[in-house]
C-alpha cells in the first residue's frame, strides 16, 4: 500500500505530457524574445555612435575648432560654440556645486525625516521638469527685465538643471557613509561641522565628484534651456556674460537646419566632439563605480 502511493507521483514526473512540452516551449520562446528585446534596445545606441563617428570624423579639421562661423555665407567653424560651452558650463558648475552639495549634506545630515522627504521629492520633481521650461523660467527673470539675451542667464539655466542631480548623488553617497565614523568623530569631541567637513564628506568625496561630473556632462549637452537665454551667437564671446553666447548644442541645432551640406557637416563634427566629451565622462564614472553599481 505504501509503495503504491509513493510510486505514483514519481512515475508521473518522469513522463512529459503535452502540457509540459507546451510549458517548456512557452518558457523558451519568451526567454529568446526577451533576449531579442534587449538586443533591439542596444541597436539605436550602436547606430547613433557609428553614424556620429563616421560623419563627425569626416568633418573634423582645424577650422572647426579654431574659427567662428563665417559672418556671411558658409564656412568657418565652431570655436565660439566650444568656448561658449566651456564658459557657461564652467560658470553653471561654480553656481550649482555648492548649492547641490549643501542641499545634499542638509538632507543627509541635518534635516528631520519629513523635511528630508520634501526636499528629496522636490529634487526628483525638478529633475523631471522639461528642460525647455527651465529655459523659460530663467528667461522670465534674467532676460525679460533687461531686454537682452545673455550668457549669464544661460549659465543659470544650466545650473538649475545641475543642482538636483548633484544634490541627489551627494545625499545618496553620504547616506551610505557608516554611522560609526560620525559617532567616532563626535565622541572625540569634534564639533558637528568639522565632523561633516573632515570625516563625512571626504569619505563620500569620490561619489560626490561622480555626481558633479555627471551633472557637467548633462549640462554640456543641453540645448533647450539655452534657446531663450544665451540664444547663440556667430561671434566668439570670451568673458562677456552680459551678451549672447554660442554653445555646442546650439551650434549643432542651428547648423542641422541649414540647407547647406557644408553646414550640416559642421553639425556632425560638433556632435562628434560633444558626444566624445559626454560619453567619456559617463564611461569613466561607470568604470570607477563599477563595483557599487553591479550589486
Amino acid at each position: 500500500m505504501t509503495t503504491a502511493t509513493t510510486a505514483l507521483p514519481v512515475r508521473r514526473a518522469l513522463t512529459r505530457t503535452a502540457r509540459d512540452r507546451r510549458r517548456s516551449f512557452v518558457d523558451r520562446f519568451f526567454r529568446v524574445l526577451s533576449l531579442l528585446a534587449a538586443l533591439l534596445g542596444v541597436i539605436p545606441l550602436v547606430a547613433i555612435l557609428v553614424f556620429v563617428t563616421l560623419n563627425g570624423i569626416k568633418a573634423l579639421n582645424l577650422d572647426l575648432i579654431t574659427k567662428p562661423p563665417r559672418a556671411l555665407g558658409i564656412g568657418g567653424g565652431a570655436a565660439g560654440a566650444i568656448l561658449g560651452t566651456i564658459q557657461m558650463v564652467g560658470l553653471a558648475t561654480l553656481i550649482a556645486v555648492p548649492i547641490g552639495i549643501l542641499a545634499g549634506v542638509y538632507v543627509s545630515e541635518f534635516s528631520g525625516r519629513r523635511s528630508a522627504r520634501v526636499i528629496r521629492f522636490a529634487g526628483d520633481v525638478l529633475v523631471g521638469v522639461p528642460s525647455i521650461l527651465v529655459g523659460i523660467f530663467v528667461f522670465t527673470f534674467l532676460v525679460l527685465p533687461f531686454k537682452q539675451f545673455n550668457a549669464f542667464a544661460g549659465a543659470v539655466a544650466l545650473a538649475v538643471i545641475m543642482v538636483p542631480v548633484i544634490m541627489r548623488t551627494t545625499e545618496e553617497i553620504l547616506r551610505i557613509v557608516p554611522g560609526g565614523l560620525r559617532e567616532a568623530s563626535l565622541s572625540l569631541g569634534v564639533p558637528v561641522w568639522r565632523t561633516v567637513l573632515s570625516v563625512v564628506i571626504p569619505t563620500g568625496l569620490a561619489g560626490i565628484l561622480t555626481g558633479v561630473m555627471l551633472a557637467v556632462a548633462r549640462a554640456a549637452g543641453e540645448t533647450a534651456p539655452l534657446l531663450f537665454t544665451a540664444l547663440g551667437s556667430r561671434l566668439i564671446n570670451v568673458g562677456d556674460f552680459g551678451r549672447p553666447m554660442d554653445a555646442l548644442p546650439l551650434f549643432i541645432y542651428t547648423n542641422a537646419r541649414q540647407p547647406y551640406e557644408a553646414l550640416n557637416e559642421q553639425a556632425w563634427g560638433a556632435a562628434f566632439l560633444l558626444l566624445v566629451f559626454v560619453l567619456a565622462i559617463n564611461v569613466l564614472v561607470r568604470f570607477r563605480t563599477w563595483g557599487r553599481r553591479a550589486g
Binding site: 518558457d27 528585446a37 548649492i99 523635511s115 523659460i136 549643432i252
Partner: protein
Amino acid sequence: MTSIARPTRNLAPGRTRYADRLFRGVSRFGAITVLVILIGLGVMLTLTSLPALREFGIAGFVTGTTWDPVASIYGALPYIVGTLLSSAIALVIATPVAILTAIYLSELAPSRVAIPLTFLIELIAAIPSVVIGLWGVFVLTPFLKVTIEAFMVDTLGSTFPIFEGPPLGIGLFAAGVILAIMILPTIVSVSREVITSVPTAQREAMYALGATRWEVVTKAVLPTARSGIVGAIILGLGRALGETMAVTMVIGNASDIPTSLFDQSQTIASKIATTFNEATSELQVSSLIALGLVLLVITIALNIIARLMVWRVAGPAGGE
C-alpha cells in the same frame, strides 16, 4: 537612515555651538534653494501666462484650435494633441521592448552579460537630445520613410485612414520612434530596479513547485512588481512629453491637428522651441508660456504619480 547617530542637542561650548549652527544654516540654505527653484518656476510661469489665460480663459485656451499671431488668437489644442499622440506612439513601441529587456537583464541574463548590457542601454540616456535629433533628421527619418512607413502606407493605408498619406519620414511617427528610443533607458532601468527588489523567496517558492523560469517571472515576479513597472512607464511618459530638441527636429512643425500617423505635427515643447524667439507681441509670449504651464502641470502630476507607484514597490530610494 535611522541608524545614523545625529546629536539632537549640542552640548559643546559657545563658539563650537555657534559654528555648528552656522554650518547647519548654510547647508539648509542649499536645501531651501532647491525648493525656491521649484516653487519659483511654477510661480513665474503662472504669472507670465496670466495675460493669455485671462484673454482666452483656461478652458478656451486649452480647447482652442487656432494659433494665429496676426489675429492674436491663441489656442493650445493642436499642440496638446501632438504632444499626447507622439508620446503615445513612443509608449506603444517602447513599453513591450523595455519590459522584456528589464526582465531579461534582471531575471534571465547571466551577470557577465547583464552588467555590460545594462550599461549600454543606460548610456542612451546620456546622449544629448540634439545629437539624437541630428541622427534622426539625417539617418533615421530617411530610413523610416522607405522602410516601415512605405510598408504601412502600402498595406494598411487603403483600409485604415490613420495610415494614409505620403510617407515623408519627418512627422508624427518619426517623432514617436525617436521618443521611444529616448525613454527606453528610463523604463528599463526603473523597471529593472523594481523587479530586482521583489523578494527572492517568492521566486524560490515557485521554483520549488516545479515552475519554469518564465512562469516564475509572470506569476511570482511581475504581479508584485506591477505597480512599480507602471510607475516606470509613467516616468518614461513624463520624459517623452517634455522632450524638446530631438522631437523639434523630426516632427515637421506643422500646426494642424494630425489625422494620420505620418502627418507633420507639433508638440508643446517643439512649438515653444521654434517660435518663442520670434514672438513679437506680449500676448503671444504669454500664450507660449501658458503652453509651457500646461506642460509643467502635466509632467509634475505624472512625476508625482509615478514616484509614488515606484515607492510602493522599491521604497523611497528607488528610481533615479
